[in-house]
Point group: C2
Chain length 345, copies 2
């Protein structure tokens, strides 16, 4: 039997080849009637369009690729911490891709590797994606953004503000940390500890800046001893909370730069028989664990799935139209108040 | 400029076309010297092998596709529960694929859809994967397994035991629930509540069977009133724990069929001022939330990443050799004992 081609399908359905292509590619604005006729012909003939065949219609691969941090992702897998960030990224990006007949996959790339460019070029070569989503810390790497731009690969920087190359989709980490700190100030807290994130991530610096902003704004002198280093891991949170809570004049509230370190603080407090919210505790990320913990943690919700959805939509737009001027998109965060914060008594 | 092809690269590197192809595809057993020569030629010529070009060397796509449950995955995303199962699956499968020059992506398919076959065939058509990993509940769907087998698509049933079609990679849910129950019996508990999982999943039935096995083995009469229905959601756990703990002769221990429902039980107990482990609590899944909760929950660890790694390895093996007799692979679970279980006082 000779191979069934798109032409056979078009003939059987009584439509143009282009229409078959649009139906197979899941493009919008095809009437249900045309879709039904094409699908019926596809079934009857057993037509199997390959990705290669789809590409013959144009230069699109209908594939987006996200580059994620190799070190963090694998560490989080191995330690059993899990990668809620990736899960939420997939939520936004996959569903958006699906709605437009695209697919997304993500690749793990080592941020500090001297081989980074070659690795990324190998990914471009193998997959020929219609666009690249850079997640932190790759999205901070302007050289990488420029390399992709030179190769005419549309790129979105996710989670990093306004550099003007490619698209940016981010939230305001500094404002979020300030809002979280203000929440504690409004409850009467003045001695507010801060557990910093990994210096590998720009967001860590911004969160610390926001904490300082809010204290300064409220006329509270910043006590550098209340700022403890961390690296986003549970272990670093245990160490930081241990240091902060061992002080004679220990803080009455703590803002942790991510959930993992906030949950670590909850453990340390429990061990020291300090009840939360007798110690008020605010977290950053709003991953499932802090919503289900006892008490649930007051937390900054990052719009990760919304950022990923926006990133995918921007790239699909460029892929469709061949156009798209660099633009930046700020998405809103939210402070979710739960049982871990209470007025200073 | 004319397009650079694999032949140009082979000529520049002084190697066979097949060698270039093996290096580009990340196949093992290529000497470092050959890799270096090929990579240097690739860089010098700016050669970009497409996925389509890779396929020209043979019928392989170097792509595996996992089919996941659409309903659960999207519900977990929307509710913010997260999909630890998918995260762990990606851990095992992606790293295994990467080590062999493969890639994996996953697709969300509605298990009960009358359109299921068409959807799956569309995925096969678009992506032409070298193999399919079916996750629960798809892996229970023998008609689907047989459809794929008829189309000569190698398939792994993940998480479902021994049906003899395709490969099976699973753990013994019944034995795991029995071991968890035995742990509670050994601590002196006799009134042990059970919160069941969603009837959509075969594993739910097996976990209930294991609970019954252990009680029967210990000569404890099964009290059907201590078995509460659930569907794996937090809300169903709140309802089930509420029912069990409202009884005058309430259970002294509870085994929940997943972590979400166990964390719900922790919340209900806290509300009723019942301290855990005064109520002993055992969970199933060992997701990050139960390890970080206060107290940490005693939990059955499922070897999800190990199952996914094995699934990918089996499919890559078939793809490489063109051979592979149906076989079943049982992977070990583990009972992780933490602070949520204690001797009956």
């Amino acid at each position: 039997m000779s191979k069934v081609t798109i032409r056979h399908v078009a003939a059987a359905a009584g439509v143009a080849v282009k229409t078959v292509s649009r139906v197979m590619n899941g493009e919008p604005n095809v009437t249900q009637d045309l879709q039904d006729r094409v699908n019926k012909a596809v079934d009857a003939l057993g037509y199997v369009p390959s990705m290669a065949a789809r590409r013959m219609g144009g230069s699109r691969s209908y594939l987006l690729v996200a580059l994620n941090d190799r070190e963090n992702t694998i560490n989080n897998w191995r330690s059993g911490r899990g990668n809620d960030w990736i899960d939420q990224m997939l939520h936004g990006a996959m569903l958006t891709c699906e709605a437009h007949g695209y697919r997304m996959l993500f690749e793990l790339v080592e941020a500090g590797s001297p081989d980074l460019d070659r690795k990324v070029v190998a990914i471009l070569s193998a997959l020929q994606p219609d666009g690249i989503i850079l997640t932190p810390p790759h999205s901070q790497n302007l050289a990488l953004v420029e390399m992709l731009t030179r190769r005419n690969v549309p790129v979105v920087r996710m989670g990093v503000a306004g550099e003007g190359v490619g698209f940016g989709v981010f939230m305001d980490d500094r404002a979020a940390a300030a809002e979280a700190t203000r929440h504690l100030l409004q409850l009467g807290h003045r001695r507010i500890g801060f557990i910093a994130g990994s210096p590998r991530f720009e967001a860590s610096r911004q969160r610390l800046d926001g904490y300082r902003d809010a204290l300064t704004e409220a006329g509270v002198t910043i006590d550098e001893d209340l700022i403890a280093p961390g690296d986003f891991t549970f272990e670093s949170g245990v160490a930081a909370a241990g240091t902060l809570l061992a002080r004679d004049d220990r803080p009455t509230a703590i803002l942790a730069s991510n959930d993992e370190m906030a949950l670590a603080t909850l453990h340390v407090a429990s061990r020291l028989r300090i009840r939360v919210p007798d110690l008020s505790l605010v977290s950053f990320d709003d991953t499932p664990g802090v919503r289900l913990s006892v008490p649930g943690l007051t937390s900054i919700r990052q719009p990760i799935s919304e950022m990923a959805a926006k990133a995918a939509a921007l790239l699909i737009g460029v892929s469709r139209t061949g156009e798209g001027a660099p633009s930046d998109h700020l998405l809103p965060f939210a402070l979710e108040v739960r049982g871990s914060t209470a007025p200073l008594t």
